[in-house]
Symmetry: C2
Subunit: 135 residues, 2 copies
C-alpha cells in the first residue's frame, strides 16, 4: 500500500467532488462525480459511499480497481490516485459510514461502502511530468 | 452515433475542464483532467488535444473507448458521455487542431488529435435517475 504525503493529504481534504473512474472487466471505461469520498487517518485508505452507483458498482463487482484525481480551484498539486477496491455492505466499517451518511440526510441510501486501498499515485499537472509515478 | 441535445450542448460549452476516463485492454481504469476538449458543430463529435497523455494514450491505442462527464458550477445538467475514439497525428483535422492549439501557445506540443464519436449519454445527477441512458 501507499501513504499520501502531508501535502497530498491537505489537497485531498480541500476537494468537494472527485471524478471517480472504473472499468468493466472487458475494458469499458466509466467516470462519475462523487461527493462522499474521505481519506482515512492511515493516509492510505479511502472510503467512498455508494449512494447511486449503477455502472460503477457493476464494474467494481467484476473488476475491483478504481482511479480518481485530486485537482481543482485552490488545490496546490494535481495527483492521480489508483487503488484496489473492496465493497462492504455489512460489518463495523459499513455501519460507521452508514450512520455518518444518514446523519447528514436520510435521503441518501448509503447502499455500500467502497473501500479503496491506494496502490499508486501519479503526477497529473501540465508542464510538470504528467503521468510520472510519484508514490 | 448520438447527437447531444441543445441543452447538453449549452452545458458542454460552459465546461472548462473535463474528467476524461480510459481503460487499458485488461481493464485498468484511468482518469485525467483535460482542458482542450471541444464539441464539433455536428453535435456528435468531440475533439480532444493530446498534449501530455501517457497512460491515456497507451490505453486509447489498445482500447479506443473514452468516457467523460459534463457537470460543475453553473452547469445545469449532469451527463456522462461515452464514445469511440480515433487517434489522428496527421491529415486535415489534425493540422487544423494543431494550428489552433499553437495559436494559443507554442508551449503545447499538440501531439495528437483524439476524435471521440459519441455513442451513449447517461444521466449522472443525484436524485434523478443516475446511470439511466438518455441518448
Amino acid at each position: 500500500m501507499v501513504k499520501l504525503t502531508e501535502e497530498m493529504k491537505n489537497d485531498f481534504a480541500k476537494m468537494k467532488i472527485f471524478p471517480f473512474a472504473t472499468a468493466s472487466k472487458s475494458g469499458e471505461p466509466n467516470v462519475i462525480p462523487i461527493g462522499m469520498c474521505k481519506l482515512q487517518e492511515d493516509g492510505e485508505t479511502i472510503w467512498i459511499t455508494d449512494n447511486y452507483f449503477l455502472k460503477t458498482r457493476k464494474n467494481l463487482d467484476e473488476n475491483p480497481r478504481g482511479a480518481l484525481y485530486v485537482w481543482g480551484p485552490d488545490i496546490e498539486g494535481c495527483y492521480q490516485i489508483k487503488g484496489d477496491i473492496e465493497i462492504k455492505t455489512e460489518g463495523e466499517d459499513y455501519e460507521k459510514m452508514y450512520k455518518e451518511v444518514k446523519a447528514k440526510s436520510d435521503k441518501f441510501p448509503a447502499k455500500a461502502l467502497v473501500v479503496m486501498k491506494i496502490t499508486e499515485v501519479y503526477e497529473c499537472k501540465a508542464f510538470a511530468e504528467p503521468g510520472k509515478r510519484l508514490l
